[in-house]
Assembly symmetry: C2
Homo-oligomer: 240 residues x 2
């Protein structure tokens, strides 16, 4: 059986303006690869209702899972939860279990659960909560969309919570071969290798160090024996 | 007149597998903001023909400019140029001026301009070349799509080349206010501020340092006087 597919949706003006460099995409990509889920696409959109709704619908239709980050805090620009509800035509409101989580957190820290903070307990109908061990305000899973915070420490904790519930696929294995020749010299053998091993993904990443160009060839797949066969053949072919 | 809009398309399996952390999106976001062009969306797709073509068409239709990175090297997984041509239904072939650039580069470095390397001289009909001062193989602009290399040093040089030709908009200005109170405490005044200054974008980015939570409020816009007015009002409102 083929592995599950996934997309990521990063929500936030601060990424697109260049103020903040996103860190969550790279983290999620690595975690999904380990878990045997194939990340096929990622998108970044601004804090714009129409843009978020359109992206959620498109990605939710096209892939098995959608992971979102950002826009679930207490301020006016945090509109992710209501956009997810709107994308599926579902109502959203403050939910008792989410409110209780926030109440306990603010009681413990001596802060008030005011109206703005209570917005973080608004959960679309039918969603299940994602635990937030850092600052209590939960994420949620609605259908195949997992809605998580943008703050990296919280995002990472939430990803762990979601992946614990999601079926594990065959982990994607990879082997690398570092070759001290330019990409242009090994492109022929690589193309032939890709043809003969259609079940593997073969990437070539050039580098330049101390003058001459070289390339790292990375071969990925789920069958260790096939990976070994491909790497062995390539090493023999490109040996100088 | 409103500023131009742009999207970015990052092409490469290595980003989605988590092997490589993309650096070009953050760089481009900063450069476009300085240049007065609004980056509205970014996408990452794999080295897959259908995915690249669909994304190029969607983004080219929706925005004034599309900037792509990745997939223009000499190996079998470098399929960006032919996908761009296909997206617009245009032919692609080796072009004399692009071949001459490569020939001069390889003559100077004592390497052979072989068949694989010659692929980098394939340019869709009607495109204009983007200079590559690092390794000669050019990028190109076709209609509103600027096609650039994924290697950051080359990408950055190509962005400079493109932006020198693209009309400058009103630079997006920003002012920040660091507030030592939780987001949830200032959400009310912020929402009212956003209502009263619809021409400005007001973002709130929480942080936690040495215990208490705080937030950086970032106000963005093109009119310096309006920014001053908004920041002054907010500072007075949230003063403890």
């Amino acid at each position: 059986m083929a592995n599950s597919t996934a997309a990521m949706l990063v929500i936030g003006d601060e990424i697109l303006s260049g103020r903040t460099r996103d860190a969550n995409m790279h983290y999620l990509a690595q975690e999904l690869t380990k878990h045997g889920i194939e990340l096929k696409e990622a998108r970044v959109v601004s804090d714009d209702r129409d843009a978020i709704i359109a992206a959620v619908r498109a990605l939710s239709d096209a892939y098995d899972h959608v992971f979102t980050s950002g826009g679930i805090g207490p301020t006016h620009d945090d509109i992710t939860a209501e956009c997810i509800a709107a994308a599926f035509g579902l109502p959203i409101g403050v939910r008792d279990d989410a409110r209780a989580l926030l109440q306990a957190h603010y009681d413990a820290t001596g802060l008030e659960l005011n109206e703005a903070r209570l917005r973080m307990a608004r959960i679309p109908e039918g969603a299940s909560l994602i635990d937030n061990p850092v600052s209590a305000a939960p994420g949620f899973t609605l259908r195949n969309v997992h809605v998580m915070a943008g703050v990296p420490a919280i995002f990472e904790a939430m990803v762990a919570g979601v992946l614990a519930r999601v079926a594990r696929g065959q982990p994607l294995l990879s082997q690398s071969l570092r070759i001290q020749r330019g990409e242009g010299e090994i492109a022929g053998p690589l193309a032939k290798l890709a043809e003969d091993f259609p079940d593997l993904s073969i990437g070539c990443y050039p580098f330049q160090k101390d003058g001459p160009f070289g390339a790292n060839v990375v071969i990925r797949g789920t069958d260790a024996a096939r990976l070994d066969a491909a790497v062995t053949r390539l090493a023999a072919e490109v040996a100088e």
